[in-house]
């Protein structure tokens, strides 16, 4: 953050964004007093571009572009360590969920680590939409294809095969159309296409 942020503009333009995050996450983001307890205990903060407390600060100040494009929100592993220790009762893990969801809905372009995390989530959910359950092999192959590293984790796959820990065919849920409908209706409500 080398350029100075114009806070008057960001607060004016992105007031709706701040409200939206508060409302959708159900979290009182304005309560945060920037003590840093979340950052202190975050297991993945070392890999983030912005530490967790700063992600929240950016929300407070309406720095929408920066926060939605950040690597940090995708690197959050959802462990809720921050949530359990926050002295202000802000569930930061929920805020992170909400920011990822907003980034996705708004079609924010992602790169690097964030792109990989998002891609993995998509591949995972695609197999759930198709089968009603996770299909691990299908997910891995699809992910490798999309990240153009066909043989990534091939050794792992082999080792799992010998321990009978991978199935070639997907396990399928009985009324799996029900599950596909869930995806369909969520998209309908959130207003985006597959």
């Amino acid at each position: 953050m080398s350029v100075a942020f114009n806070l008057t503009n960001s607060l004016k333009d992105n007031f709706g964004f701040i409200n939206n995050v508060s409302k959708e996450s159900g979290q009182p983001v304005e309560q945060c007093y920037q003590c840093g307890k979340c950052t202190a205990g975050c297991p993945v903060a070392f890999a983030m571009d912005y530490p967790p407390h700063r992600v929240l600060r950016m929300v407070q100040l309406g720095l929408k572009e920066n926060v939605l494009r950040s690597q940090a929100i995708w690197l959050c592993a959802g462990c809720s360590t921050c949530t359990s220790r926050c002295p202000r009762n802000v569930d930061l893990a929920q805020v992170m969920d909400c920011l990822r969801s907003l980034a996705k809905r708004e079609g924010v372009p992602l790169d690097d680590r964030a792109r990989d995390v998002s891609l993995f989530y998509d591949c995972f959910l695609n197999t759930v939409e198709d089968n009603g359950k996770l299909y691990e092999l299908g997910m891995m192959l699809n992910y490798n294809l999309k990240t153009r590293q066909l043989f990534k984790n091939a050794n792992t796959g082999l080792a799992m095969l010998t321990r009978n820990k991978i199935k070639f065919l997907p396990a399928k849920t009985k009324n799996r159309r029900d599950v596909a409908m869930i995806f369909q209706r969520v998209r309908e409500l959130e207003g985006k296409a597959r």
Binding site: G36, K37, G41, T81, C86, P87
Partner: protein, 673 residues
């Protein structure tokens, strides 16, 4: 009847929202109103003079002032109308500031309408006001101070020096409280013991002070000027009239006990004085830990006592004393972090100590003789981490409030480590540094200059790493995580009301705030009084504060006590409850609901001709009644009236509020629902 109405602007406080001239204009048309004006600052001298002039010029016999809360200026305006020769209780105040302009600042039209309604109600009530006169009660010229820390000591000495008798009650075996445990005091680095022990001795020697240590207040009855207090003198098993304080008994006692005074870092004996300069300097036996008192073979102390002062048969004794005023100075305890902070190891990881434990470690008369060492192995720590706001400013795990003294004592601790351990490194995790006292900021900066590294952020977790402590935290200025391998961690834990403070508040009869601190009557204007007349507050029992503030507040409480004790008699509030005996059924529901135990029973003849037939009715003790109105509202037969708030007066105000147009509107609203 001629009522005068004065509507105040309070500068822009009211005038900025409410259309004050319009309120005054509307009031002019209300029944009995002979004069109605508005004024910028009615409470000012010209404002008060205006009221006096108006009363005389317009021959007014009731006054309505629409301004701020009666808590702020009711007394002011009562005195004003008394100057003009009116009975002071013929005043009615309307709160159009706190209850109107301040809360409706964004809706001025409705605020003005509400102000008009409120004034109309007050005028209706004023028309039914009766003159009231104050009674008087005599004052017992003696005070009690509960708690013998620096607050209680200061208050007792000030009252005693002014020539009044004082009883100082302390539940521990010695007075001195927390201050005498401290090593040095910020920002001057005076030796805490050197400035507090002479005061302790002065208490013991003062001809006007009776010192009761190892004693507790168990019951309080009565009212301002006339309290009756029951004090339990706990059995010491040592006859202090014989004991010479030679010290042989505690030298020879075979039973070692963890020392409370040393914050459980050192030990004491079962017969003990808490520390060498204790006042009184004579021992007591800790019954819970004494071998002899627990049925085991011992009796060593009795054998070695040349004065024959040991008495295992001693019992707790109760005595009653009469006092005119009580000062509460019960102090604080530290927040128990071991129950709340799992991330710091729930107290199971060694070498994580509290600030008060650090004070004992660094104190020359402490268990290590003033050498800062690790409790686990006695090694001198090289890397010391201080964590502030442990339990303070943490509503999730602790308290929402700031404990006020921690920033400064942590700076002092950091200074002491750097001074006593050459080459050591000190890290202080903080969220803010709050140093608003005289020479405080300079002291903090001095510690920083000496090399203390202040890290703005909280600590997430402390875990063991070999014999060291791995402290993981954030530096929010750097924007990243930091780790420190520490030898010793010192937690600045929150101040909380001392154990048993809620119970003593209930016993003595006053209220506590949401955190359990004693509630002052007004945060700004009556900071040392409680809502119960005759009970005053000093020190941390009222809220966290440091030593200078504590001493100042103790002296303030002493002045209030002296002002009371100088009087032969005090005027009582005439706005108290009154029983109409002919209506009273004797159900005594009023007695159950009275928070001040002011309802007594009385037997009266129930037949004018036959004196033998009697009935029980309620009777109000005018000394105890505080005029809260609980009895009035609970009385089923309408036999109790609160003077100044009689049923008739209140109903007339309500009727005025629901006058015709308003009433119709109300009906419409109710129907809509």
């Amino acid at each position: 009847m001629r009522i005068g109405v004065f509507v105040c602007w309070c500068g822009s406080n009211i005038g900025g929202v409410v259309d004050v001239p319009r309120v005054a204009a509307r009031a002019a048309h209300l029944p009995y109103v002979a004069h109605s004006v508005d004024y910028k600052y009615t409470c000012s001298e010209p404002g008060q003079n205006m009221i006096v002039d108006a009363i005389q010029k317009h021959n007014l016999d009731r006054v309505v002032v629409a301004s701020c809360s009666p808590r702020l200026h009711e007394t002011t305006f009562r005195k004003t109308i008394a100057r003009a020769g009116l009975n002071p209780y013929l005043l009615e105040m309307v709160n159009i500031r706190e209850q109107c302009s301040w809360v409706h600042s964004k809706e001025p039209d409705q605020a003005t309408a509400k102000a008009i309604d409120l004034v109309r109600m007050a005028v209706a009530k004023a028309a039914r006001l009766e003159p009231l006169s104050e009674g008087s009660i005599t004052v017992t010229k003696k005070a009690m101070v509960i708690g013998g820390g620096i607050a209680g000591i200061q208050a007792a000495l000030d009252i005693a020096d002014a020539g009044h008798k004082v009883i100082l009650v302390e539940r521990e075996p010695t007075i001195g409280g927390k201050m005498v445990m401290l090593d040095k005091t910020f920002p001057t680095l005076d030796c805490s013991a050197c400035i507090s022990t002479p005061k302790m001795v002065a208490v013991a020697q003062h001809p006007n002070i009776e010192l009761l240590t190892y004693a507790e207040v168990t019951e309080v009855s009565g009212y301002i000027g006339n309290f009756s207090v029951t004090v339990k003198q706990k059995a010491r098993y040592v006859d202090h009239s014989r004991c010479t304080g030679c010290g042989t008994c505690w030298e020879k006692c075979p039973q070692k006990v963890s020392s409370e005074f040393n914050q459980h870092i050192g030990i004491r004996k079962a017969i003990y004085i808490p520390f060498p300069q204790a006042v009184p300097n004579k021992p007591c036996i800790d019954a819970a830990n004494c071998r002899r008192l627990n049925g085991k073979k011992c009796g060593v102390c009795a054998k070695v006592c040349a004065a024959g002062a040991i008495n295992y048969e001693q019992q707790d004794e109760y005595r009653q004393v009469k006092v005119g005023a009580i000062v509460m100075a019960t102090g604080y305890d530290l927040f128990d972090w071991t129950q709340a902070y799992g991330e710091y190891g729930y107290g199971k990881i060694p070498n994580i100590i509290t600030g008060l434990q650090f004070e004992r470690l660094v104190n020359a008369s402490g268990p290590t003789g003033g050498k800062i060492t690790r409790p686990s192995d006695g090694k001198e720590p090289q890397n010391v981490v201080f964590i502030k706001c442990v339990g303070s400013r943490d509503e999730a795990k602790g308290k929402a409030y700031c404990s006020r003294a921690c920033c400064m004592y942590t700076a002092k601790h950091a200074h002491q480590v750097l001074e006593k351990i050459p080459g050591s490194r000190v890290f202080v995790f903080y969220m803010d540094v709050r140093a608003p006292g005289k020479a405080y900021e300079e002291f903090y900066q001095r510690t920083v200059n000496e090399g203390a590294r202040y890290i703005r952020g909280r600590v997430s977790k402390i875990s063991r790493k070999g014999d060291k402590l791995l402290v993981k935290g954030a530096d929010t200025l750097l924007g990243c995580q930091v780790e420190i391998e520490a030898d010793l961690v010192v937690l600045a834990t929150a101040m909380v009301p001392s154990r048993g403070s809620r119970e003593i508040a209930r016993t003595v009869g006053f209220t506590v705030d949401q955190d359990g601190f004693f509630q002052e009557a007004h945060p700004k204007l009556r900071p040392v009084e409680t809502n119960t007349a005759g009970i005053f507050l000093a020190g941390v029992c009222q809220g966290p504060k440091d030593i200078p503030d504590t001493v100042a507040q103790a002296s303030a409480a002493a002045v209030k006590v002296c002002a009371l004790l100088y009087k032969q008699e005090i005027a009582t509030n005439p706005m108290i409850a009154e029983v109409n005996e002919s209506k009273c059924q004797g159900c005594l529901l009023c007695r159950d609901v009275c928070p001040f135990q002011a309802i007594e029973t009385k037997t009266i003849p129930n037949n004018a001709h036959d004196q033998a037939k009697t009935q029980t009715v309620a009777h109000v003790n005018s000394g105890l009644c505080q005029g809260c109105g609980c009895c009035t509202s609970s009385c089923r037969s309408g036999a109790i009236n609160l003077k100044g708030f009689s049923n008739e007066q209140i109903v007339s105000a309500i009727k005025a509020c629901l006058c015709e147009d308003n009433f119709a509107e109300l009906v419409r609203k109710v129907r809509k629902r």
